[in-house]
């Protein structure tokens, strides 16, 4: 037996590389994670049950038709564990694997989204956007490095999931929870920084005292720097909680407000 259990080294490497292909690309095509799962399982099952193709069909049909949705990077921990369960060739392996999927996809999605989708995106998008406005391509390069880090994490997670098994994934999910709470801190500092540096909202409005004209923006700046960007962000933050409000509706509202303010000569 190789160090990859009942799977040959060649097949294991193939499955692992297959799992690194990004399932989020699938979200363009309707958030369906079952199909990538079938693709990832395929080489492993084809080797393990080469003598019983009908069993493979039975197992794959189940993966294809049962609901599965999680974050793709952290989800590789789960996929690694699922392949490991199948590789044990227990008679009820598919039951265990599917139960594992149902119980861990939620927690791993939460952790993965906050680290890789929300947290990482906030930090690196803000950096890339800010640097681009300054005329530099460096931010884009940093984003590329972040992609490669994500890819390395996928490889690492799949291996961890496969080799350390199900108990480990459960404990790790618990520990990664700590990372989730702390990455938010970094995100908040970056956003706090980005609000004054990138929201360029000023007013052209001017106050007239008899003969002299005083730009209203100067008064605002003397009260508090970047008051308008802060107020706007706060207003939108509150607006998001209004019942029935969607992002798209808010975009239209901002567009309409921009047109009205421009017509009145306020901005």
């Amino acid at each position: 037996m190789s160090k990859y259990g009942k799977l040959s080294e060649k097949t294991y490497k193939k499955v692992c590389l297959s799992a690194m292909a990004d399932q989020t690309a699938r979200y363009i095509g309707g958030g369906n994670l079952p199909m990538p799962t079938v693709r990832i399982m395929m080489p492993a099952l084809a080797e393990l049950y080469a003598d019983d193709p009908d069993l493979i069909v039975k197992k794959q049909m189940r993966y294809l038709n049962e609901y599965f949705n999680t974050e793709s990077t952290a989800g590789d921990l789960l996929l690694g564990a699922m392949v490991a369960v199948e590789a044990s060739k227990e008679p009820n392996a598919s039951d265990i694997s599917n139960a594992l999927k149902i119980s861990l996809m939620g927690p791993l999605a939460g952790i993965g989204d906050s680290i890789f989708k929300v947290g990482g995106k906030v930090i690196f998008s803000a950096m890339a956007g800010y640097m681009a406005l300054e005329g530099s391509l460096l931010g884009l390069l940093v984003c590329e490095i972040w992609c490669l880090v994500t890819l390395a994490c996928k490889y690492w997670f799949f291996n961890l999931g496969y080799q350390q098994g199900t108990n480990f994934v459960t404990t790790l999910a618990d520990q990664l929870d700590l990372v989730t709470t702390t990455i938010g801190v970094l995100g908040l500092v970056v956003i706090g920084n980005a609000i004054p540096s990138t929201v360029k909202l000023t007013t052209k409005f001017a106050l007239q005292y008899g003969e002299s004209v005083k730009p209203f923006q100067e008064i605002l700046d003397s009260i508090f720097p970047y008051l308008l960007p802060c107020l706007l962000t706060y207003a939108l933050y509150k607006a998001l909680a209004v019942k029935g409000m969607t992002t798209i509706k808010l975009v239209y509202i901002v567009l309409a407000a921009g047109l009205v303010l421009s017509l009145l000569g306020v901005c």
Binding site: V38, Q60, K121, V190, T247, Y252
Partner: protein
């Protein structure tokens, strides 16, 4: 920069340039599938920069791309939520910013990004035939084919969701955009650029909701004060933030260890 290289030789025709933009998108989608090229973070900027470079005006691509990237910051298509598609918007926006003018470009980008959401439902159904093909391939024990069907699943979504809209809007939109420019008053185009500079705030507001800002307002204030009073930019703020996050992480870890010990102690006492 790029303009000089074209000057000596033949200027590429607009059709060839649009084809080049689509080719870059195809490559980006393919590489993005293997996490080899910026997608969630930086993808919008990448679209704008490549479009700008192909049309021979990289600075405009960078400037608009930066704006769209910031607008896109809080927008995650997680779960069922529908968000503006700035990946598409940034290509179209930069295209019109360079070929017509900057104000109409900014406006077109935002409008296309929002209108693109109407295609979402339709694009989702494109993977349905792939699912039944996969079932057929499984039933006939063609294992290799099963894998290939899944690998090719992104292609129709790319054609319908990116290639066709870009090709149609960019090749047919120019006369329309020029006509609009001629009769639309100045306040309308200015209004769009005001909205454009305000829209990143919407992205930030969404992020603040997901980062649970009300319990951790102190970190937001630190980030704000760093720029507003000390002029520290994003890179500096990221380092400050990383240091604070590390401090919080160590603290939380210690707290957890103490809790765990207390738990064991409690069991021991009984």
């Amino acid at each position: 920069m790029c303009r000089h290289t074209y000057k000596g030789g033949k200027e590429l025709s607009m059709g060839v340039k649009i084809a080049l933009i689509l080719l870059v998108q195809l490559l980006k989608t393919f590489l993005g599938y293997f996490s080899l090229c910026p997608g969630p973070a930086g993808g919008v900027l990448l679209n704008a920069v490549t479009t700008g470079a192909i049309l021979g005006d990289l600075p405009t691509g960078l400037m608009l791309g930066g704006t769209y990237e910031l607008m896109n910051i809080g927008l995650n298509p997680l779960g069922e939520s529908v968000v503006p598609n700035y990946n598409l918007g940034s290509i179209v926006g930069v295209f019109f910013a360079i070929t017509v003018n900057k104000e109409i470009g900014t406006a077109m980008g935002i409008v296309v990004a929002t209108l693109a959401t109407m295609m979402n439902t339709f694009v989702q159904y494109l993977s349905l035939p792939f699912k039944s093909w996969m079932e057929k391939a499984l039933a006939t024990h063609q294992w290799k084919k099963v894998e290939w069907i899944e690998f090719l699943n992104w292609f129709p979504a790319f054609i319908v969701g990116t290639a066709i809209p870009v090709a149609v809007v960019c090749s047919l939109g120019q006369p329309a955009a020029e006509a609009i420019m001629n009769f639309v008053p100045e306040w309308v185009t200015h209004g769009f650029s005001v909205a454009g500079s305000a829209l990143p705030a919407l992205g930030f507001a969404i992020v603040l909701r997901s980062l649970n800002v009300e319990k951790n307002i102190e970190y937001l204030i630190i980030g704000f004060a760093l720029f507003a009073f000390a002029g520290v930019g994003t890179v500096g703020a990221t380092l400050f933030g990383a240091a604070l996050a590390l401090m919080k992480f160590k603290h939380a870890k210690e707290l957890k260890a103490v809790e765990a010990n207390a738990g064991f102690g409690g069991v021991g006492d009984e």
